[in-house]
């Protein structure tokens, strides 16, 4: 059986070759298809590519260059050239003959810009021969091209080239062969076997090979043909709404249309006689009942087509079967595909839940990172700092500025993190010294004064850096994502933020519980007078604590800038959420902040899952939930007990 398929596939490939064997000289082909080569379109370029491929190795070189966008027209004589970049200039080769034309400056050549659809076709056309290319990279690319656009002919070619010295590529070929078998093999048994060989595989490409088999068409038929592969018969009213079902019949010309208000109105307008329609004066027709009367009168006079009545509609609907019919004729194949898909459902559901949890965890860690500085300044010290968001922004801009001076992304990140801490620590200390120290007894005024600082800092950032977003690029090793499978994956930058959040949680616990500073901070916040009499300087401690909280905000800024954007409004995007996180969690307790961040992160993702079309709604309902939550638990998830300000 296989061999027949193979022969067929080979024939399919060879036929166009032999047909054009006589004209197989490349220059002729180029001359013939010149327009198409210069301005190719995916829909028409296929024969051109095939013709060029048929001319032999020079044709292949031309295709390769075309796909890589290295094919151009020399401006001096309009000759089609392959232009390989060589320093600042281009090295030209005649595309038709392969003759070396020497170097030329860039502006001497108009490079052709085939779009990606055309490039896909070119690489698919070359994939067959590249499958046994000695270069493993070319083979991998060819397999990639095949997985995007395979067909029956290529299945044959692939089966010929199954042996591969590279074990990964061999496995990949094996898998691709089975995927293509599911879609393109002519033997149903082979297809079903291939489906079953995947087990409960959840990969996208497996499902992508099954789903097309299960595409259906909705039809209305009086009798069900015996050979139809019916997926489902629809009951009118429950599976398909009455109106929709009848509309299908009307569209197919199987039943007369019902009377719509627009049609009624238009018909009435055509039959105005002496200011009357069917005996009803026109002025009275601003009323549905009057219009119906007029229409019935017209029907009675035989002037208009009677519209379908309710009984006729019912009768018509009863007469027809409404079916979903598979495009695939073989019922065994569709049944097997259905079974295979059903086998993946539970696993996919679980994995989607896992992926959503990862997203939620990542969002929670971002909120936690943004809020941890606030947990110190607001949670521990009770100082409400509306400029906290602007400290985050300052950290992000510090990262951007550092990248302007240090081009190596890894080193610049290593420099930026402590520098951001230093900058915002200094800013925090300055703010504490100059403003907040005078307002410790007036929290509402602290709120307003720090808000003034926040406006000023935001505008300053705009004046210095402009309103446009600035690039802050993560180092190469943070690019990409940790991919467990096609469904569950998380980008490395998010993992890094998660790790950073954990580090700061540890750092916070260490400082507060294991160091002298932490002890003094707790002492000062619990009873400044008593602490002072023990020889602790509350002024100094307040200053250091506030600086620490601000410094952490700066580092959070670098992290947030790396994964999102750096603008002057970066801080205000996070400030309300950060306060929410701290308040929901319970002021004065780092575990509370953690719980708050987790609650908000998971809640938001949960709402997004219910309503994937509208992310804005998710944010709205999340805030609404928090407002209501605070009404019932004003002290947050983990309420501080008694006078203890810090508990960990």
């Amino acid at each position: 059986m296989r061999s027949i398929v193979l022969v067929l596939a080979l024939l399919a490939l060879v036929l166009p070759l032999s047909a054009r064997a006589q004209t197989a000289d490349l220059a002729g082909v180029i001359a013939q298809y010149r327009d198409q080569i210069e301005k190719p379109s995916r829909q028409t370029v296929e024969p051109v590519v095939a013709a060029i491929a048929a001319t032999g190795p020079q044709g292949a070189a031309l295709l390769q260059a075309w796909g890589d966008r290295l094919l151009g027209l020399r401006k001096s004589d309009g000759r089609l050239v392959i232009a390989a970049p060589e320093g600042d200039a281009l090295h030209l080769t005649d595309a038709a003959t392969g003759a070396d034309l020497g170097p030329a400056p860039e502006d001497q050549v108009t490079l052709l810009r085939p779009n990606s659809g055309v490039r896909g076709l070119i690489s698919a056309a070359m994939a067959g021969s590249a499958l046994s290319d000695p270069d493993p990279k070319r083979r991998a690319e060819a397999l990639e091209a095949l997985s995007r656009k395979g067909d029956a002919a290529q299945l044959g070619l692939l089966r010929q080239a199954m042996d591969d010295p590279d074990p990964t590529l061999a496995a990949r070929k094996q898998r691709l062969e089975r995927l293509l078998t599911i879609q393109y093999d002519t033997d149903p048994a082979a297809r079903i076997a291939a489906m079953q060989s995947f087990g409960g595989d959840t990969s996208l490409e497996f499902r992508a090979s099954l789903n097309p088999i299960l595409t259906t068409r909705r039809v209305a038929l009086e009798t069900i043909p015996a050979d139809a592969n019916v997926a489902d018969e629809l009951a009118v009213g429950s599976d398909i709404p009455r109106d929709a079902a009848y509309a299908m019949l009307v569209d197919a010309g199987l039943a007369p249309a019902r009377l719509t208000p627009q049609a009624e109105r238009a018909t009435l307008a055509q039959h105005i006689v002496n200011g009357m329609v069917g005996g009803v004066p026109v002025i009275e027709l601003g009323d549905e009942a009057a219009r119906d009367r007029a229409y019935t009168a017209l029907e009675g006079q035989g002037l208009v087509q009677p519209a379908a009545s309710e009984d006729e509609v019912t009768a018509a609907l009863d007469r027809f079967h409404f079916l979903d019919v598979y495009a695939e004729p073989n019922a065994d194949v569709t049944a097997a595909a259905r079974a295979a898909l059903r086998g993946t459902e539970t696993r996919i559901g679980l994995m989607q839940a896992a992926d959503l949890s990862l997203d939620a965890l990542s969002l929670a860690s971002i909120y936690f990172l943004a809020a941890i500085g606030l947990a110190i300044t607001f949670g521990v010290m009770g100082v409400i700092n509306m400029a906290h968001g602007e400290f985050i922004m300052m950290g992000a801009y510090t990262g951007y500025v550092v990248q302007q001076f240090i081009s190596d992304k890894t080193i610049s990140l290593i420099v930026a993190l402590p520098l951001a801490f230093a900058v915002t620590f200094a800013a925090g200390v300055a703010l504490e010294r100059l403003v907040i120290r005078h307002l410790y007894k007036r929290p509402l005024e602290t709120l307003l004064a720090t808000f003034g600082v926040s406006i000023a800092l935001q505008q300053l950032a705009k004046n210095i850096f402009g309103t446009q977003a600035r690039p802050l690029t993560s180092p190469g090793w943070l690019d990409g994502a940790l991919t467990f499978n096609d469904i569950v994956s998380i980008s490395y930058i998010r993992i890094a933020i998660f790790v950073l959040a954990l580090v700061f949680l540890g750092l916070y616990l260490f400082i507060m519980n294991r160091t002298r500073l932490g002890l003094e901070v707790r002492a000062v916040t619990q009873n400044p007078g008593m602490a002072a009499s023990m020889g602790i300087s509350p002024d100094r401690i307040n200053m250091l604590t506030f600086g620490l909280g601000s410094g952490i905000a700066g580092i959070a800024g670098v992290a947030i800038g790396l994964f999102a954007k750096v603008t002057s409004e970066l801080g205000s995007d996070y400030i309300v959420q950060s306060f929410m996180t701290v308040v929901v969690g319970g002021v004065g307790n780092i575990w509370g902040t953690l719980a708050g961040a987790a609650l908000i992160g998971f809640l938001q993702k949960g709402i997004e899952w219910f309503n994937p079309a509208n992310t804005l709604a998710a944010q709205t309902y999340m805030i609404l939930f928090i407002i209501i939550f605070i009404q019932f638990r004003p002290r947050g998830i983990i309420a501080a007990k008694g006078r203890a300000a810090v508990g960990a």
């Binding site: 208000p261 007894k441 929290p443 000023a456 205000s572 209501i628 009404q631």
Partner: protein, 410 residues
């Protein structure tokens, strides 16, 4: 027999007199009814500023007198605007639609008119149905009632929930901020039924008054705003002056002590909060027909914070302070950002006020908070030889959340 309110507080009389003189003066100088020295756009700006001043008076009532720093006042302001805007849009569109449908051979049915109006209003958000919340939009009386009811009800429910669970101080401030943020995000959605980000527009064209030019309309609204400000000022002064006012200020200074004295603190706060919301809603309903457009950006949290800033700069606990703050700061803002202020050339750097005004505003705000908690009205106090009692800096009560000594003057 107690003296009438205005005699006990001569500042009210002075304020009303100044307001009257100002209103008449602007009218005489206006394009619509006077010499034309003041352009119509300037009249509109002044009218809008009076509305903002009314909102500031309400803000002063909740913050300066009751000690609730509400950072969500502009939500009520915008709701008032939305409520009146709904009627303005529907009534105006109805005139247009009936006009065009009347040309048809067959007269339109009520359903057809309704459908056409809905398509015109909601076509921009891809809908042709009236959302349920527009059920009263055909009636001016109905929507005017909603101007009062919707902000009032929101304040009542929100306040009841918050005060009942004893959320106060900065927590309450953050919560009110979250409320206005949630409302803004909700209105930003296209499906909210209030035309999403587009908001309601063309509100300056009053249905049925097509023949009246904007020059005259602007003066009418200016007068309406002035009258509203005058009445609102009287009402708030009356509320703040009697026994009710005393209890309110006592709550501000020491909530727990008032509760122990047997007063229902929550009810007092709730009344003040709701009343202020209603007044703010009315101010908004007068503001937006002058502005011409309302969209959810109007109730972004920042707008409410600015309102607090104005009151703080003008002087809390002084109603005229709130008015002065709102007028001075908002007019200064529009002067500086309007590009009218001349650039200052320092030789090495040219200060463009468009860029630096916000910095200046932010910093001056810090300075006022630190060094002049009484704001601009402190100048009037000094003129009137009002001085706070010398208490050697000891606070009036143990509640650190409330404002102390300096505010207990009145």
């Amino acid at each position: 027999m107690r003296k009438p309110l205005v005699l006990r507080h001569p500042s009210i009389l002075v304020f009303l007199a100044v307001l009257a003189v100002f209103t008449v003066g602007v009218t005489i100088l206006s394009t619509g009814y006077g010499t034309g020295v003041i352009s119509t756009s300037m009249v509109k700006t002044l009218g809008k500023t009076l509305c903002l001043a009314l909102a500031a008076v309400a803000m002063d009532l909740v913050w300066g007198y009751a000690g609730i720093l509400s950072l969500g006042q502009m939500a009520f302001f915008a709701l008032g605007g939305y409520m009146i805007g709904m009627w303005l849009m529907v009534a105006r569109t109805e005139t247009i639609v009936t006009g065009s449908l009347a040309n048809l051979p067959i007269p339109p049915t009520a359903a057809e008119i309704n459908q056409a109006v809905a398509t015109q209003i909601f076509g921009v958000v891809g809908s042709d149905q009236f959302p349920a919340i527009w059920f009263l939009s055909g009636s001016l009386i109905g929507q005017l009632a909603l101007v009062v009811l919707v902000p009032g009800l929101l304040a009542l429910v929100f306040g009841w929930l918050a005060f009942r669970s004893r959320v106060n101080g900065v927590y309450l401030s953050i919560l009110t901020q979250a409320m206005t943020l949630a409302l803004a995000l909700y209105l930003f959605q296209n499906d909210s039924g209030l035309r999403g980000n587009n908001g309601l527009s063309g509100l300056q064209n009053i249905p049925g008054l097509d023949a009246v030019p904007q020059e005259s309309l602007s003066i009418w609204f200016f007068w309406a705003s002035a009258v509203a400000l005058g009445l609102g000022y009287l009402l708030v002064s009356w509320v703040a002056s009697g026994k009710f006012g005393s209890v309110t200020r006592a709550i501000r200074d020491d909530e727990a002590r008032v509760r122990f004295l047997g007063y229902s603190v929550e009810s007092y706060k709730l009344v003040v909060f709701t009343l202020a919301a209603v007044i703010t809603g009315i101010a908004g309903a007068l503001y937006y027909p002058q502005a011409g457009i309302i969209n959810p950006a109007e109730l972004a949290p920042i707008a409410s914070i600015y309102l607090a800033v104005w009151v703080a700069i003008g002087g809390r606990g002084r109603l005229y302070g709130a008015v002065i703050g709102a007028i001075v700061v908002s007019m200064l803002s529009s002067w500086f950002t309007g590009g009218r202020a001349p650039d200052v050339n320092l030789g090495f750097y040219t200060i463009k006020w468009v860029d630096w005004w916000q910095v200046l505003l932010g910093l001056s705000f810090v300075l006022v908070t630190l060094f002049a908690p009484k704001g601009i009205s402190g100048i009037f106090d000094a003129l009137a030889h009002l001085r706070p009692p010398r208490r050697g800096g000891t606070p009036l009560g143990p509640d650190m959340g409330a404002l102390q000594e300096r505010e207990a003057v009145e």
